[in-house]
């Protein structure tokens, strides 16, 4: 076709921002660095809109193949971009929400060091993420996959002087790498079976294959699907590889919003949706995806119930919501998964940015209970825009009718149930209840408080997460002797509140595109994999919706009761169920378990066997041994040259005898 959309310009713009800030950021003022950093993403968003404006003038998928990257033998991998409905949606989300977060960062990071480095890395991340969603083959997607992992590592460890941040960055990268191992195995199998990595070619071949049996875990498509999903559990923080995401909160809050809520963690969901053709024909893998998604949703939601740090609440919430997206994919309702991905980008991005606004207002304090103490009268009176946008996002995530999350989450639960998976539907619904509860708990604790709004308020500086300490309820603010910092908690500047408001509108209205499954029908051509989906259930959508709404409202009510109405009850409940409470507070001791079972043995093997044994012992031993042996040999030989005449004579005589013997023997 004649239409050239120049898709490559979209990632290229972000990459140029990275280069510019990397090379010249030191020389520019902060304003210039921000203009470049935010501007390129804005330009990329406009570019994406321009591309969208041409929608309809071509037959999807639109392929844009540039020069080949690898071309040897039968292996052909081009630098190619693909635009179809799925990548269009992802493109708009990444550039749109990305732009808003970049804008927000300009305000949030205004007082931080490393300003241009931040924007350079954020632009680099955008570049890789766009490569990931626009790629037309698995290997190019993998470049983006790895690249966003790298950018995430750099950004989590942005405050690199802090040990916890550096370790969190490493943890994220290493855990991701474990997932990537599975992903690579999947890629190798794909090439082995289909001889190509390009989506169109792979899927056209897959469509010729039959659907594998539901119990058969070792069919070729199932193994591929499972291996790819291992990669997705790493990237999208599902059980068992979710452990890096809560630690990733060490990074700056806009990073958490962009990477760990709206975009990077959704890469796994995107990949599974892209591979829908494979997953539809591998029902065992589909069940695994569904099960892990549901379990993760519940598991993470349960941990979020007892968190004190506002960002940690949101981190576990993200893990949980990603579980919902995978539930949808596992139930072959990929459209619902993408829909939730979109609404989640809106409301979770908003939640994180709002949390950042709170942290900014409270000068670095992240513990919700301390915030409640430090803002007499409730933070909502000091930072109303932050408060109301945060409430909008919370209603969205809790599934309050009318907000975007209501439509998407409801669609997922209905799809899961109508596929016959009653157990997982129940798990998902329970998780929805917990979600609503802990989110409203966060709202009520952070923004509501006792007392009169004051104009003078002292609070400590510092950006570390709060350590655990006991909270009694209406004790007066203690330890407020040092009155450094900004002073009174205050609303954030416009560069931060404007994105909040825009995202709030999206979180409010973004769900209406899903009415009547319009969004799903838009995406249908992508997910038309040739495998019919049987709708099994007898329950109508109305009943399911009703139950979900009841759960949402119930969570709200319980949170209201425990945290606004009757304040001592929460602690009494915690004391009454102290074992359970301790388990949740310690995150089910998963990190400790991994440490004991994986980290300690590995470091022991590395230290004692590989380092001391093989490297020092064997390799150094061989090298030193060669030297030692030659020294010993020469030491022995040296004795022959003694200067002693008689020994020389003896050697000559012995040599002569040997020569004679040789002549005699050889002459026979």
């Amino acid at each position: 076709m004649d239409l050239n959309l120049h898709l490559w310009t979209i990632p290229a713009l972000c990459f140029s921002g990275f280069l510019l800030n990397l090379l010249f950021g030191r020389l520019w003022s902060r304003t210039a660095a921000a203009i470049v950093g935010v501007g390129v993403v804005g330009a990329a968003f406009l570019d994406a809109l321009w591309v969208v404006s041409h929608w309809g003038s071509f037959v999807a998928p639109y392929l844009e193949i540039h020069r080949p990257w690898i071309q040897t033998g039968s292996l052909y991998i081009p630098f190619g971009f693909q635009l179809d409905q799925l990548s269009l949606v992802m493109l708009l989300i990444v550039t749109g929400v990305g732009f808003l977060i970049h804008l927000y960062s300009a305000g949030y990071m205004a007082h931080e060091g490393g300003f241009y480095r931040y924007f350079a890395l954020l632009n680099l991340f955008m570049f890789f993420m766009l490569v990931l969603v626009l790629a037309n083959n698995y290997l190019l997607m993998f470049i983006g996959w790895e690249g966003v992992g790298f950018a995430s590592y750099m950004l989590i460890g942005f405050f690199f002087r802090r040990d916890s941040a550096a370790s969190a960055g490493m943890k994220a990268f290493v855990v991701n790498r474990i997932g990537d191992f599975g992903f690579l195995l999947g890629l190798f199998l794909i090439f082995n079976h289909f001889g190509t990595f390009e989506f169109t070619r792979v899927f056209s071949q897959v469509k010729q294959l039959p659907v594998e049996a539901a119990w058969h875990w070792a069919g070729p498509l199932t193994i591929i699907a499972l291996m790819l999903f291992v990669g997705a559990t790493g990237k999208s923080a599902q059980i068992p590889l979710y452990v890096w995401l809560p630690d990733a909160m060490e990074g700056p809050t806009p990073v958490s919003a962009l990477i760990h809520a709206a975009t990077m963690v959704t890469a796994g969901v995107y990949m599974v949706c892209r591979s829908a053709t494979i997953y539809d024909r591998a029902p065992f893998a589909g069940s695994v995806v569904l099960a892990i998604g549901a379990l993760t949703a519940l598991f993470a939601a349960s941990i979020g119930l007892v968190q004190r740090d506002i960002k940690k609440v949101l981190a576990y919430s993200t893990v949980s919501q990603l579980g919902y997206m995978f539930m949808a994919c596992g139930a072959m309702a990929y459209g619902a998964g993408v829909f939730h991905l979109m609404t989640h980008a809106f409301f979770k991005g908003l939640l994180f940015l709002g949390a950042g606004s709170v942290i900014h207002a409270m000068n670095g304090e992240q513990d919700m209970f301390r915030i409640q103490q430090m803002a007499p009268g409730g933070l909502r009176r000091y930072a109303p825009i932050t408060f109301w946008t945060f409430v909008v996002a919370t209603c969205a995530i809790a599934g309050i009718p009318g907000f975007s999350g209501f439509f998407s989450k409801d669609l997922i639960l209905y799809s899961v149930l109508s596929g016959g998976n009653t157990l997982w539907w129940a798990v998902g619904t329970l998780a929805a209840l917990l979600t609503s509860f802990y989110m409203f708990r966060a709202v009520f604790v952070t923004f509501f408080g006792e007392g009169e709004k004051s104009v003078h308020s002292a609070h400590p500086t510092g950006r570390e997460s709060a350590s655990v300490h006991d909270v009694a309820h209406d004790h007066e603010t203690t330890g407020m002797a040092h009155a450094e910092g900004h002073g009174v908690p205050h609303e954030s500047p416009l560069t931060m509140t404007l994105p909040l408001m825009i995202l709030a509108l999206l979180a409010l209205g973004g769900g209406w595109v899903g009415i009547g499954d319009r969004f799903g029908h838009f995406l249908d051509p992508v997910f038309d994999t040739g495998v019919p989906r049987a709708a099994v259930s007898g329950i109508t959508e109305g009943t399911v919706t009703l139950i979900s709404v009841v759960m949402g409202l119930l969570g709200l009510a319980v949170a209201w009761f425990l945290y606004l109405r009757s304040k001592g009850t929460a602690d009494k409940l915690a004391a009454a169920f102290s074992g359970l409470h301790r388990t949740l507070t310690n995150k089910y001791w998963v990190d400790e378990f991994y440490r004991a079972v994986i980290v300690v043995p590995l470091t022991a093997i590395a230290r004692y066997i590989l380092w001391k044994g093989v490297d020092s012992g064997l390799i150094d031993g061989v090298v030193n041994g060669v030297g030692g042996a030659s020294q010993a040999l020469s030491g022995g030989l040296r004795r022959q040259a003694s200067g002693n005449l008689r020994s020389y004579a003896s050697w000559i005589g012995a040599g002569a005898v040997l020569a004679l013997l040789y002549v005699i023997v050889a002459g026979r």
């Binding site: 040296r638 040259a641 003694s642 200067g643 002693n644 005449l645 008689r646 004579a649 005589g653």
Partner: protein, 100 residues
């Protein structure tokens, strides 16, 4: 006739005695005597073969050997005298300046 082997065995014995003396003795003069003994043992072997193979070349070679022996004895004794003047000892073990 005396068989060839008798001459050869005698020659071998003389040669081995010469080698033994050369290796075992500590006095330099005695070492030289042993060298002469070795040479004469070889001379005997040449002469015996010359007689038994009726080839005059063996006898001629003996002359060569004797000339070489004489020259070598002369030079060797000159060296011994020079060494003695430096070291006042004729113990061959003490002449060990060639060591590394």
């Amino acid at each position: 006739m005396i068989p060839l082997s008798y001459y050869l065995i005698l020659s071998a014995i003389l040669f081995c005695l010469g080698v033994a003396g050369f290796i075992i003795k500590t006095d330099v003069i005695t070492v030289f005597i042993s060298i002469e003994l070795m040479l004469n043992g070889v001379n005997l072997s040449f002469v015996a073969f010359s007689h038994f193979l009726r080839d005059i070349g063996g006898n001629i070679f003996v002359f060569f050997v004797m000339v070489v022996a004489a020259a070598e004895a002369a030079v060797g004794l000159a060296i011994i005298i020079a060494v003695y003047r430096n070291r006042t000892t004729l113990n061959v073990d003490k002449m060990n300046l060639l060591k590394l």
